[in-house]
Amino acid sequence: MCKARSFACATWRLMLLAAITALALSCIGTGQAASLDDIKKRGYLLVATEDDYKPFEFVQDGKPTGFDNEMLELLKKHAPFEVRQDIIPWTSLLAGVSTGKYDVALTAALITKERAKSFDFTMPIADATHYFVKRKGDQSITEIKDLNGKILGIQAGSGLLQRLPELEAMLAQTGGKVGKVVEYTSYPEAYQDLALKRTDFVINTIINLQALVKEKPTVFEVGLPVSGKSYPAWAVAKGNAELLAFLNGFLAEQKKNGTFAQLQKKWFGQEFTDLPAKWEPEF
């Protein structure tokens, strides 16, 4: 083909390598999502949950627990077919649903404009207005404008990151700016770094932060809201309308019989009674 070690040959090989990789990667996007009929035919629904997203899904004493895991138990009773669960990290969760490996991302995925292009979301399962959390007793942050130039810790690839323009707009009113942004693969590391003073504040949803402060009241303190309305929900592949309707039917039933509110109270510390049945994200 070509003599080894020549520059042209190396370039050619590199291009071939890139082409193969691109081809392999493009295969990923072509996965087919299973419709409700397919699921009934094969006899089981495959859902994916996370393992480090307290209080929605986490592992305690080796067992998965949290709001979504309790909902999953109810879903198992409700569904006329078997429901199987795989626990995987957030990194591969949405990819797993878009490739058709999993039918449902049964987690608190924030509904965002970007994600709505590739996924359909169920009715919101909680309120997820974004708040900031700071070190307990940090006097340098008392108002939103104090966040000017402070170092922010936030999860990479999260819906929260896409809402930063809102905080930017809030700060701009007082002539301030968002400081350095540090991205983490998951929140426990972000909290740890906040405690270690590597960052000055962390942004997450109110529920996650309340759970954090409940566990560590002497270390952290919840601040003020830094976003408008925001809701998390379960996600299915775009266009999987029947499966979405099935899940929404299940959620509506749990709302009606009061279990939904009961579980919210148990895991979030409060009930969210005014959740919209459908949410069109602005961001």
Binding site: T21, G62, P188
Partner: protein, 215 residues
Amino acid sequence: MTSADLISLLQGAGVTVALSLAAIVIGVPLGLGFAILVWRRIPLLQLIVKTYVSLIRATPLVTLGLLIYFALPAVGLQTGPVTAAILTLAINTTAFNCEIWRAGLTDFPKDQIESAQAFGMSWSHTFRRIMLPQVVRTCLPALVNEMTLLLKGSPAIAVVGIVDVTRAAVRIGANTYEPLPPFLLATALYAAIVFVFVRAQRWLERSSKLDEVRA
């Protein structure tokens, strides 16, 4: 941290060791096979091996894991997390082992091979009785080195839902909001496992030296 957390960390260590060992058992001999193809300059096959090695050496473990777990179903191959994890680790380590073996084979003194053939030894006989024992000895440190790297790179396979030591530590940290203690314990577990590997290498080296003295 509770005793249940400790148990889950130890279980994670078991998973790390089991998956790494499976990959090593596949990767070390397969790497040798591939290296022989390149060393003997088998047409076409050596080109395939060379492409495979450069492709895999350029691919991070996480990417490879995601590719195997999510791309294979798209072409009709369903893989469970464990199969996907072993495949990922084995495909990765085979490429590196191939290069280690190839270096050992290429550096082998030609005069020994020529002498063996002058005595009428067949190629396979020469390879088994003359080359392999010496090549194994030269390659052993590098192979064990690669094994320890594989072991420490193995947390990457958590992306397909495997709970190894590191993922077990992440889970505990996510529940207690104190990631440091479980991570320190995980580090200690890795150190202990690597220590066993290195001791095994020393022992193998020493016993092969004794063989030499006896011979």
